[in-house]
């Protein structure tokens, strides 16, 4: 298979304009003759569904939650980047583009990233017009902050709830279209398969989670904005319901899956407290601006932190990276924390934690100043751990937070299945091997508001689609396979819950394909996962029936897909014989222990093609061209 990324030619700053001009338009009167399915109502899906309906398309929109307002974009705390240069501190579209390509460790597509930086400015305007209550200065203009070690202040924010406010903006735009009858909304409805007719995506099979009813929905194009797959690790900062089923079903219907091993670990999460733990909670990265990270110098030091004198503390980030200190990028900070815990110097009951200490800042600035900056985060920490971070240092540990990999898409955000578009975290395109802070919200909204609504028009104008009915053999086949699969889960009659398998699977993936990977461990995981999967299919317990709200049945389907995805992740990690961004192969590091890329052999995106159950998927590559930002070794010393 030849991957055609459809990148326009010419100077990078003109490519998106050129592409838009060359695209065929759909006559306004004809738009209502086309129907589009949008799955997912987060920043990408919600924005796309609302915008497509405003343009005049018939939209059917689906989410598994009880309301489109609950998609996991809502939990993003920090902010959203835009190259507005309102602070007059030297920011520009080119600088945002440059930072994002470099931050992604040279594994993202330059043209996509440039377009992302270009439309970032429109996003802020749009959100302000919708009434998103961004933070403001006393003069009434928008406030900005520097985030995640960026050298310019380009991050817009709404207290610690930026994701919530942006999502509510998109949700309100969507509800407006629902009220006007231009979007048919299907909450508590899960997509369980993709319908492909004559090589084109033409619909989906869904299950109504309240009644169990299986339905066929047909359209002229299908858009997936279904988020990432971080929950493959069981413990992650993702919502419990976030899942990979939509993209995995699409993969099994022929869409290529790119860079599955590119996952992001966030350094500042609240550590695991026990084996009942159901999820991990992120503490905003902004805490690293004023907190100092340390562990005891001595191994197995069980003294409480205030009894450890200054001379017996190791501020290891400040020691190893004197110029960036506690503000090194996420992947570097996470690996360093793992390193000191592996040495036996971790803190807390489990030994898997490091201190994030505010006592110096409190002494310097006063408790009031710290409360003003981080009050809500400190409260959240205290609610969860029962400890007061004004008095004792916080304990933090890295956790899975975001997945850069996803379905492969071209410049038009179309997958390898014509008519199947993939937006937001669900695709692979913009963040390379590592995502920068405050860029996820930017990409979701860029795709949903400003990219997909153009490119999908070009597809629809050119596609010449025949009418397809629900009795088409492809629809019947997809419907039958969904029913059979559900019946399968209900008839195993085993002893173990889907959650217990998920927890065990997550542990394997975290140990062998988490913060650091090596060939030996990945090989072990590739043996352990199929063995556990076999037990899953013979010893799974799902009570109840398929004709009612059955949360165990929902979980079973999602966990079954995670088993398959986990294997592909490990295979991808094993094949990528280099370290880059969030993918750290222990065999490929500098003498100082930093990630070492291999640009000669791996300057590409790896896109995997499904070849049947049990068969090895085929690896295709899209070579990445760096015409503007020349690859260099990242250094934070």
């Amino acid at each position: 298979m030849q991957l055609n990324s459809r990148i326009p030619s010419g100077p990078i700053e003109q490519r998106w304009d050129k592409c838009r001009f060359e695209m065929k338009l759909v006559n306004p009167a004809n738009k209502r003759k086309f129907s589009v399915i949008v799955v997912g109502t987060g920043l990408a899906g919600g924005a796309a569904a609302a915008t497509l309906a405003e343009l005049g398309y018939n939209v059917k929109c689906f989410c598994f939650q009880d309301s489109p307002r609950r998609a996991h974009s809502i939990a993003a705390q920090g902010g959203i980047n835009a190259a507005k240069n309102y602070q007059n501190d030297g920011d520009s579209i080119y600088r945002l583009f440059y930072d994002t390509v470099k931050g992604g460790d040279f594994r993202a597509r330059e043209s996509n990233v440039y377009r992302l930086a270009q439309v970032s400015v429109n996003i802020i305007d749009q959100c302000v017009a919708q009434g998103v209550p961004f933070a403001r200065e006393y003069g009434g203009v928008l406030a900005n902050r520097s985030f995640g070690g960026a050298q310019v202040s380009r991050t817009f924010y709404a207290r610690g709830q930026t994701g919530q406010q942006l999502l509510l903006g998109a949700y309100q735009a969507l509800e407006r279209q629902i009220g006007a009858g231009r979007v048919a909304m299907f909450p508590r409805t899960e997509m369980l398969d993709l319908i492909v007719v004559d090589g084109r995506a033409r619909g989906i099979i869904t299950r109504d989670l309240m009644t169990g009813k299986i339905e066929t929905h047909l359209a002229d194009a299908v858009v997936l904005g279904t988020g990432g797959y971080g929950n493959v690790f069981f413990l992650s900062t993702n919502a419990k319901g976030s899942n990979c089923t939509a993209i995995w079903r699409a993969y099994k219907r022929g869409a290529l899956f790119a860079n599955p091993c590119f996952t992001q670990i966030h350094p500042t999460c609240i550590p695991v407290s026990g084996d009942y733990q159901s999820k991990l909670t992120l503490m905003s990265e902004s805490l690293r601006n004023d907190g100092r990270i340390w562990v005891p110098v001595k191994k197995g030091d069980t003294r409480s932190p205030e009894q450890i004198p200054e001379s017996e503390r190791d501020y290891y980030l400040e020691r190893r990276y004197p110029s960036f200190g506690n503000l090194v990028p996420r992947d570097v900070a996470s690996r360093a924390a793992k390193g000191v815990c592996d040495e036996g110097r971790g803190v807390g009951g489990t030994g898997l934690g490091v201190y994030l200490d505010f006592s110096d800042s409190i002494r310097r600035l006063g408790e009031g100043a710290i409360r003003e900056r981080y009050g809500n985060l400190f409260e959240m920490y205290e609610r969860i751990t029962g400890e007061d971070p004004y008095k004792v240092p916080m304990r933090i540990f890295p956790a899975i937070h975001y997945t850069m990999g996803g379905l492969w898409v071209d410049y038009h955000l179309m997958s390898t299945i014509p008519g199947l578009f993939v937006i937001g975290e669900a695709n692979f395109s913009d963040h390379g091997a590592n995502r920068l802070g405050a860029s996820a919200l930017m990409q979701g909204l860029a795709d949903g508001y400003f990219v997909l609504p153009y490119t999908i028009g070009d597809y629809l104008a050119n596609a010449k689609l025949h009418k397809v009915g629900g009795d088409h053999p492809a629809c019947r086949e997809a419907d039958a396979s969904v029913r059979e699969r559900l019946k399968g889960f209900l008839s195993i009659g085993g002893k173990r819950s889907a959650d217990s398998f998920h927890r065990e699977l997550g542990k394997i993936v975290w140990d062998e394909c988490g913060m650091a990977r090596n060939a030996d461990g990945l090989g072990k995981a590739l043996e352990a996962i199929p063995a556990l999967r076999e037990e899953f299919w013979s010893n799974l317990a799902v009570p109840g029936t398929g004709e009612e709200l059955n949360q165990q049945l929902e979980k079973a389907g999602r966990v079954a897909d995670y088993f398959e995805l986990a294997e592909l992740m490990c295979l991808d990690a094993l094949t990528r014989e280099e370290s880059c961004g969030g993918h750290f192969r222990e065999e490929h590091q500098t003498p100082e222990g930093e990630a070492m890329r291999d640009d000669d052999k791996f300057c590409h995106a790896a896109a995997w093609e499904y070849k049947g159950d049990g068969a090895k998927p085929e690896r295709h590559i899209e070579h990445l061209e760096f015409e503007y930002v020349k690859p260099s070794q990242r250094s934070y010393k």
Binding site: A47, T51, E54, Q65, D66, S67, R69, R70, H72, I74, A75, Y86, N122, D125, Q126, V128, A129, Q130, G131, P133, F134, A135, R136, Y138, G140, V141, L142, A158, R159, Q161, Q165, Q172, A173, E175, I178, G179, M185, P187, M210, A239, K240, G241, G274, Y276, S278, M380, R383, I384, T385, G386, Y449, F450, P453, K495, S497, D499, P543, E548, L549, Q551
Partner: protein, 248 residues
């Protein structure tokens, strides 16, 4: 610690439902309330019984999915906290807990502790937005917003749409929910053109959904996980009154 739970079990909206008693040993004080229910569900599953259905998603107190009544209080005893963020260290060995779903005519029970809150979405669809097409926006700094107004709008916009206000209100009124959205948008300059229309339509929709009226009791604000103040309702009533007078 050991707990006795009485949980509302109801197979479907047609079923009449009942409280069922469960004993739970070895509850760890560091668990969240929902993790305690996860443990209960694992136990039920291992005995071949059906687990308790409850809504939850982010477990960080922001998505608004979770929520039920614990011993008569929506979201339980800790102020400003959703059930997913409530931890078991607030309980003691031997405690007896009664868990019930949100009760309101507008929130039919789907199963056990899960209710249908679609009515809240329909209130937003009636007018809880600013009508601006994608692409039609002026520069973000074109309209300055006084910081005080922006902050107050943000206070209102924090609502997570969980429905606790409705569950706590003796009238099952959705006034705090509706008022939070009306206030958020009506406080901002961008929201002015549709100010009157918005409040009229949203209040009418709330009535049509069978939510009750506000009689200034204040239970809503005391259980609100985001602490949305009662003044928002006064603001909505003022906007409603002036809109109704103009429209008459």
């Amino acid at each position: 610690m050991k707990l006795t739970l009485h949980v509302w079990r109801q197979r479907s909206s047609q079923d009449s439902g009942r409280m069922v008693r469960y004993e739970l040993a070895d509850v760890n004080p560091d668990m969240s309330f929902l993790e305690m229910l996860d443990v209960l569900n694992e136990q039920l599953l291992s005995k071949g019984e059906e687990p308790v259905a409850f809504d939850h998603d982010c477990r960080e107190g922001i998505c608004g999915s979770c929520g039920f009544v614990i011993n008569g209080v929506a979201h339980g005893p800790q102020r400003g906290t959703t059930v997913c963020q409530l931890h078991m260290r607030h309980y003691h060995d031997g405690d007896e807990l009664y868990l019930e779903p949100w009760r309101a005519a507008a929130f039919p029970v789907v199963k056990d502790l899960v209710v249908d809150r679609g009515a809240l979405d329909r209130i937003i669809a009636a007018g809880g937005f600013i009508s601006v097409q994608t692409g039609a926006a002026p520069d973000g700094n074109a309209i300055p917003v006084p910081k005080g107004n922006a902050d107050m709008a943000m206070d209102a916009a924090q609502c997570i749409g969980c429905g606790a206000c409705v569950a706590a209100c003796p009238n099952a009124s959705a006034s705090l929910f509706t008022a939070a959205k009306v206030s958020h948008l009506n406080l901002l300059p961008q929201g002015q053109p549709e100010k009157a229309d918005r409040v009229l339509k949203m209040v009418v929709q709330a009535n049509e959904e069978l939510f009750g009226s506000c009689t200034n009791i204040g239970e809503c604000t005391s259980v609100c996980p985001k602490g949305i103040p009662l003044e928002m309702i006064a603001r909505m009533n003022r906007d409603y009154l002036s809109a109704a007078l103009v429209r008459r």
